[in-house]
Assembly symmetry: C2
Homo-oligomer: 123 residues x 2
Amino acid sequence: MTTSHTSDENTNPAAANGARGGAGTETDEAVRAELARLRDSIDNIDAAVVHMLAERFKCTQQVGHLKANHHLPPADPAREARQIARLRELAESAKLDPAFAEKLLNFIIAEVIRHHETIAKSA
Amino acid sequence: MTTSHTSDENTNPAAANGARGGAGTETDEAVRAELARLRDSIDNIDAAVVHMLAERFKCTQQVGHLKANHHLPPADPAREARQIARLRELAESAKLDPAFAEKLLNFIIAEVIRHHETIAKSA
């Protein structure tokens, strides 16, 4: 044991923390642990979403080739309107902001249409 | 190569398509069926993504409350840089455009930060 002026702090760090009155390393530790737990879940979900979207683009690439080979237009507004209405409903039942779900789908569709146009040009 | 009734269709599919006018031939039927099959998969994937994101926002709402209660800033640039680097790697291994994955994550994070700011204001 090292020599010190206030042996309490050396022999019992937890009690010493408590004595500091919650200014808090113990609380900080708990907050950090909870934040790390939530971030691990977020990272797992993000990995899942990336892999789902990789699979989605495999499908839309096939759609792109099909459309290019049969001279169908890259965009399909009627289909997109149906997709948006359906996703808004799904979002609502999953307690996700429907407006966010719609913005996200539009973001993904814009990327898909860019892909379709590239495929059509090179067809 | 697809089966077709006339040599014209084999040598000049564009003209053949034009001549058919899109009215219910065998090829059109096959194309429609293939498009429907791919779109069903896309719809399934979209439903999965919506539910994953609903779960993600449940996590980030908890992070938002944790941050607001402990007076931590809504945004965390160091954490975001790590997330982006990781997602770009995951995207690459899943053959998804890493630039698209990064844009998508930024899009989602922007929404999350808006939520955190709302929580912080009401805390």
